[in-house]
Symmetry: C2
Subunit: 324 residues, 2 copies
């Protein structure tokens, strides 16, 4: 945690007007943190405008305030205090980067370990499971009274980034915060259904294709699925509907390493890796990609068969090296 | 909550030998509560034998103490104190019912609203998300020091019965307990993977068949899937591998009511219902079945086409009535 907390509290107390923004391609943590911060500041008499570069995914429309998020800012006032949430880097603000970075005071609130500390004041804690946790603590310090709108937005933020408290970034503090948020009358059932379980029909049709093409290697420890742009279009699916399919390969009992090939065309294949034990960040790194130890990916510019052979060779090697 | 708490604490303190049991077809809550209670009592010097009627599912084998659970008890000593966990009714103890019900002192610990209060002393709280929550409080009251073994077993108990904190039975107390359990060095990541995400290949092959046969009715608000015994065998799946497939029908965006038909043979069809809004307990009730408002089922003794027509007619009626 950086040492700017007290300066941030002082700055917020002394400012009247705020621009709030979170990163492009908003996820639950970025949109939830944005809306909670916005509602919290308004509740203590501040004038707040909320922004995201690009639109908010439909699944978050139910959150109060989501319909008031703006996507462009022309003639921004540089004396307005900017708060940038859940963004490791100003590039994540897309076309809104310049107008935000021109503000005289920039408050940077984030939990990414790679955060570039680009703010005038920075509140960055990589031990927080979500930016929503940091926003919760900050609102408390500002004397904001949590209400149902704030609680719901923070629940969405934190439960998204922890996969409903399933990931190892979940800490005792995470659960303590959620315990308090639930006292504001939230329904974990309907929130979780919206965030985790509900997917469009096209997703399930794609999943069917992915399972139909399943191949197992390395004594069933590697599961491989293949989808293509053609299949996606046939299923009526958008690129976003591919999200999560790769997990199914890794979730098969006994599988250590799941791989999803997405064939864009005959000279470009996107590859996703999910693992139970193998370091797929290193594996993806060898293939000019990157990511985390258990979830990574790369993009290779060759035909499917060539890519598949190359990736499988490296994957089997990674599995063998790890066992050795 | 019944008023026997202090008598139970006194009884446990004054007893030396215990038989512990939880219900047949063990789930995470029953096995987790059993093992946590067993380890807790042993840690304060008690002599404990743990039982389940029938074997423990393979997925719980990783829990410490799971390999010491016994499945029969011949010449049981009736002066040993019996603790029956997570069982609404002694019938849930199967073949071990008689020997347990002969014990002079029976402590009944459960969270089912339908619990028959069959114990000498009863600790039954239907507001607890899981029996694991009640066991946690009781162990605290007994002065047991929580350790990693107990924490892991209770985490499994509580996270199972709340669907990783997604269901509406999850309360602030649930999260407060989990916050403490996580301080004993658990990995929510690996526990959740084992409990929720890992399924055998046969499950995914069945899921593929279910999606392939998907039909939509009532302006896409009803999704219907059909599987058969033949398909199941072709996929190499056990009856248990069907578990969870029905959820996928309800999880399609826009679907209010998901139905899974499982054709046992040409005169018997098992029907599962999952809903977002319709009261499927009432719907199943009309078809001689039962269950909860959002998850219910029935079994009809007729050929598939007849069953399908009958169920669809009632389902459409239920959807229309609700809208009206």
């Amino acid at each position: 945690m950086t040492e700017d907390r007290s300066k941030i509290i002082e700055t917020i107390k002394n400012s009247r007007k705020f621009y709030l923004i979170s990163h492009m391609q908003p996820d639950g943590d970025s949109i939830g943190s944005l809306l909670a911060m916005g509602e919290g500041l308004r509740s203590i008499g501040k004038e707040v405008k909320t922004f995201t570069p690009g639109s908010v995914p439909r699944k978050y429309n139910f959150l109060e305030g989501a319909d008031q998020v703006k996507h462009d800012l022309i003639d921004g006032d540089p004396t307005t205090t900017a708060i940038i949430l859940d963004s490791s880097d100003p590039e994540r603000l897309g076309l809104l980067k310049d107008v935000f970075m021109q503000c005289q005071i920039i408050i940077n609130i984030d939990h990414h370990v790679t955060n570039q500390l680009f703010g005038t004041f920075n509140l960055v804690s990589s031990s927080a499971s979500a930016t929503g946790e940091i926003v919760y603590e900050l609102l408390k310090d500002l004397g904001v009274k949590i209400n149902t709108t704030i609680a719901e937005a923070l629940y969405v933020a934190i439960s998204t980034d922890t996969g409903s408290f399933k990931y190892d970034n979940t800490t005792p503090a995470t659960h303590r915060i959620i315990a308090e948020l639930l006292t504001y009358g939230l329904s974990p059932g309907s929130l979780s259904q919206k965030m985790f379980d509900e997917r469009p029909l096209a997703f399930y049709l794609l999943l069917k294709e992915a399972i139909a093409g399943l191949e197992m290697y390395a004594n069933r420890r590697i599961a491989l699925m293949t989808l293509s742009r053609d299949m996606r279009k046939r299923c009526g699916a958008s690129p976003g509907d591919l999200e999560g399919i790769v997990n199914y390969s890794r979730n098969i009992e006994g599988v250590e390493l799941g791989i999803l090939f997405y064939v864009e065309n005959n000279q470009e294949v996107k590859v996703g890796f999910r693992s139970r034990s193998v370091d797929v960040s290193a594996l993806a790194g060898k293939l000019n990609g990157g990511g985390h130890a258990r979830a990574a990916g790369c993009r290779l510019y060759d035909d499917y068969e060539t890519v598949k052979n190359k990736v499988l060779t490296e994957a089997i090697k990674a599995l063998t090296d790890q066992a050795g």
